[in-house]
């Protein structure tokens, strides 16, 4: 049965077990295969191969690897197939042409992990794939396929290790393949001009000695080698004037891209604008101003965790409140100063609690998406992965829900046939969705949207902090007028009201009898009162999603974001939060090459800079600008 929740995602392959179990077509006469033994299946190797690939199966060739995918995966994930939405494999012609489609896929690290899980007979998420092989011969190629992946996509392998945990026994044997080659590098001078235009915002000026003399005439004319690229970037960024230009152009634009500045709006579906038009521009710049202030002091992950926000005279009042339960204090900058820093209240915690972030997705728990949009945006900022909204699909058998998620009272449903309580219902409560099936769990459990729906609960449509009294006025009072005026909740409307019907929002009042009730202001107020419980929700450890003992219990936005970024760090990691590099390696090409794709060279280069330079943003940006990818003709 299809489901209609805000965010069930495509980007997990857990759905694939559903394929095996239900609707996906099967081979007519599948050859039975034995359960994986847990050991890599080795092919005979030549002596030379054995020396090169000691201790692991011989890699397939690229063509063999692509054929392996075509043979074993396309039947479910190919064009028009049931699980194409979960992981889109292109047509056979494109698939077999070259590996570009896989290199550009944001899911390649997941593809690698499902193969590893199959090889290791692991039952952890993402589910081992493929559920069945076409033949025994195909099954025997699995180890060789994994070896090919390690050589061809070291960036994806690295990401998989960060995201899904140690992929032993392969991790120590990963041959970091930096053989990415651009077909044609631009010349040294073209590179200098490109870097200048994109990072400094204006062309290189050959008539200035400080710019025209960086490269020799020979270097200017020849292809931009790694040394030439390093020379240009270092020389230009060591000039104080140009460093300022870099901060004002490159750093600002990257931060605005990450913050989704263009999506920060003053008006939404409601008639009453939550924020005046004239403060918008300042909100669009609040994160970039913070980044400019702290990028040399803090690591990239720490920028998201700072409990600071930059404000202007126009935005400071947005962080000031005397409302009981939502007290905030923020002084405006002194006269003549544009920006000042405020400390965020405990509820706002960090970047994800700022007005700018919250207004880039104007929504709330009072609406049908129940904060899943904000949860999805959090995931995208940190990991660069765009979750798909409203994905219908094969549900499969759900995994057990960990106990801390069951604590919430949010069990809302939407009736398909308005007015008929017995008609089909779609889940959208914080518990209802993740308990529904594996497709739903892909995002709501494994990407923690169930927790996000609770974590973002105190924030209203415009990012204001809501308290229970806003909903029901407390024991004796009236609801605060703002919420009635905004019509964010349907207060006491008659059942036969025209337009949106109250009956589309019901809650399971009595699970035993399956009795439903319409939602009420008190229901929302009770959900807000749940926030007093410091362990109201949890984030399961991604390596053991079914084990409640490993879950991080919290109701804190700060703890939530920290856990997302840090939980997969190695115990001895020199710098924490390397998982966030995944997001950065998507935003860099997007901002500076106008590209919606990244590749293994960029991932490898930026990841290396992260570890070598304490996670600081500037060295990671330099690593990107010095990459062959950035210097490649046509980009």
């Amino acid at each position: 049965m299809p489901i209609s929740v805000w965010n069930t995602c495509l980007s997990t392959l857990v759905a694939c077990l559903a394929c095996a179990a239900a609707s996906c077509s099967r081979p007519n006469n599948p050859i039975p295969v034995k359960p994986p033994s847990g050991k890599p299946v080795l092919q005979a190797v030549s002596k030379k191969d054995a020396e090169v690939h000691a201790g692991r199966p011989v890699p397939l060739t690229a063509q063999e690897a692509l054929q392996f995918i075509q043979t074993n995966c396309s039947e479910c994930h190919g064009p028009g197939k049931p699980l194409n939405a979960a992981f889109a494999i292109p047509s056979e012609e494109i698939l077999l042409k070259d590996t570009a489609w896989l290199e550009g896929s944001a899911l390649n690290q997941t593809v690698y992990q499902v193969l590893i899980n199959k090889l290791n007979n692991a039952s952890t998420s993402p589910s081992a794939m493929p559920p069945e092989f076409k033949s025994e011969a195909e099954e025997k190629k699995l180890g060789n396929m994994v070896s090919w992946f390690q050589d061809a996509f070291p960036g994806a392998v690295r990401e998989a290790a960060v995201r899904f945990g140690d992929t032993a026994p392969f991790r120590s044997q990963i041959a970091v393949n930096l053989s990415y080659k651009c077909n044609q590098l631009i010349s040294g001078w073209e590179f200098q001009n490109r870097f200048s235009l994109r990072a400094l915002g204006r062309p290189a000026d050959p008539t200035r000695a400080s710019e025209g003399m960086i490269l020799t005439e020979a270097e200017k004319a020849a292809p931009a080698t790694a040394e030439v690229r390093r020379k240009v970037v270092e020389a230009l960024l060591s000039t104080p004037e140009l460093k300022t230009a870099f901060e004002n152009v490159a750093l600002t634009q990257l931060a605005k891209k990450i913050a989704n500045a263009g999506a920060i709006v003053s008006k939404g579906k409601t008639a009453q604008p939550p924020v005046a038009e004239d403060v918008l521009q300042d909100l669009q710049s609040e994160f970039s101003e913070l980044v400019k202030k702290y990028y040399e002091q803090k690591s990239y992950p720490e920028l998201f965790l700072l409990n600071k926000v930059m404000v202007t005279a126009k935005t400071a009042p947005l962080y000031t409140s005397t409302k009981a339960g939502a007290i905030e204090t923020c002084a405006a900058p002194t006269a003549g100063v544009k920006w000042a820093e405020c400390t965020l209240s405990e509820q706002r915690a960090n970047f994800f609690g700022t007005r700018g972030f919250l207004l880039s997705k104007p929504t709330s728990m009072l609406q049908n998406n129940n904060n899943y949009g904000r949860g999805g945006d959090t995931w995208q900022v940190l990991f660069g992965e765009v979750l798909m909204a409203n994905t219908d699909g094969v549900a499969g058998d759900p995994k057990p829900i960990i106990s801390c998620l069951n604590a919430t009272q949010d069990r809302r449903w939407k009736i398909k046939d308005k007015g008929d309580l017995n008609s089909a219902k779609a889940a959208w409560g914080a518990i209802s969705v993740p308990s529904y099936g594996k497709v739903c769990q892909g995002c709501h459990l494994n990407r923690h949207l169930a927790a996000a729906s609770v974590i973002y609960r105190p924030f209203g449509f415009a990012g204001e902090i809501m308290v229970p009294n806003d909903m029901d006025g407390g024991t004796n009072g009236e609801p605060i007028k703002t919420y009635k005026d905004l019509n964010l909740i349907q207060l006491n409307r008659p059942a036969n009201a025209t337009g949106e019907d109250d009956r589309t929002h019901v809650t399971l009042a009595d699970p035993a009898s399956k009795r439903y009730e319409f939602i009420s202001p008190k229901f929302f107020a009770d959900l807000l009162r749940e926030m007093d419980n410091k362990e109201i929700t949890c984030i399961p450890d991604s390596r053991s999603p079914d084990d409640s003992s490993k879950a991080v219990k919290t109701n804190s936005l700060s703890k939530y974001v920290e856990t997302l970024m840090y939980q997969n760090d190695a115990p001895n990691a020199a710098v924490r939060g390397s998982a966030a590099v995944r997001g950065l390696t998507r935003f860099l090409p997007s901002t500076f090459a106008n590209s919606n794709q990244t590749n293994l060279e960029v991932i490898s280069a930026v990841s290396s800079a992260f570890e070598a330079e304490g996670g600081k943003l500037l060295p990671m940006m330099k690593a990107y600008f010095q990459s062959e990818t950035f210097a490649c003709s046509g980009n």
């Binding site: 001078w189 001009n193 634009q253 945006d377 106008n594």
Partner: protein, 236 residues
């Protein structure tokens, strides 16, 4: 006030540039017509538009994949400030309302009622037209931008070029925007489109300087022609 026909005439010039410059080797053809003085036949306009549409269609295929085809508004502003002079983007009252003498002589302003209340004296023309020039500050997290050459972009670029040319102090030989000054044209090209080789620039500089050597109107037309060309917009 500029009439619709005159705006179309400017567009035709831009269009011809865009088509001519789809191949970089035709750089010099960018400078063969003046921005404010060119007037082509309706057929020429139509034909050029068809070619431009084909070009746009071709470029659109690559939208969202990678690469900047044109300068976004911020890079356009910075480029003009750096390679010409600062302060050339400011709108003047004389661009909106003709002085009595000009009106009597039949001379029209470069910014007319087309923009109604959007243009006021003192505003930055790139800021006013940023929405048509790919404003990078309004790009959302998943968007790419500046990957397509559009008629909106070219139209806005022509307006920016007119404003810059109007503001340039051609009476001052040392002004960085003065293409009529000795050696000035070449330096402008070197600074504004540095990705071109010296040989290419030498060639075009002669044409540019020649166009920029007449009366004030010719100088303005020459500078505006260059700035509104796709060569300038696409230089990277």
């Amino acid at each position: 006030m500029r009439t619709w026909f005159e705006r179309l005439a400017v567009m035709s010039f831009v269009i011809s540039n865009a088509v001519a410059c789809s191949a970089k080797s035709t750089l010099s053809s960018d400078l063969t017509v003046g921005a404010s003085s060119s007037a082509k036949s309706a057929e020429a306009i139509s034909g050029s538009k068809q070619l431009l549409d084909q070009k746009i269609s071709k470029e659109t295929k690559f939208k969202g994949v990678q690469g900047f085809l044109v300068k976004d508004s911020e890079r356009l502003r910075n480029t003009i400030n750096e390679c010409l002079d600062a302060g050339l983007l400011s709108i003047k009252a004389s661009m909106i309302t003709a002085a009595a003498a000009d009106a009597a002589a039949g001379r029209k302003v470069i910014l007319g009622q087309t923009f109604s209340g959007a243009l006021t004296s003192g505003k930055d023309i790139v800021e006013v037209l940023a929405a048509d020039l790919y404003d990078p500050l309004l790009v959302a997290r998943t968007d790419t931008s500046a990957g397509t050459l559009t008629l909106d972009y070219l139209g806005a670029l022509a307006t920016v070029a007119d404003v810059v040319a109007w503001n340039c102090d051609f009476a001052n030989p040392s002004a960085r925007c003065n293409c009529g000054a000795p050696d000035g044209a070449k330096k402008i090209l070197q600074r504004c489109i540095p990705s071109y080789s010296d040989a290419q620039i030498d060639n075009v500089a002669k044409v540019f300087a020649s166009r920029c050597s007449g009366d004030l109107a010719s100088k303005r037309a020459a500078l505006a022609s260059f700035l509104s060309s796709s060569t300038f917009a696409e230089a990277r």
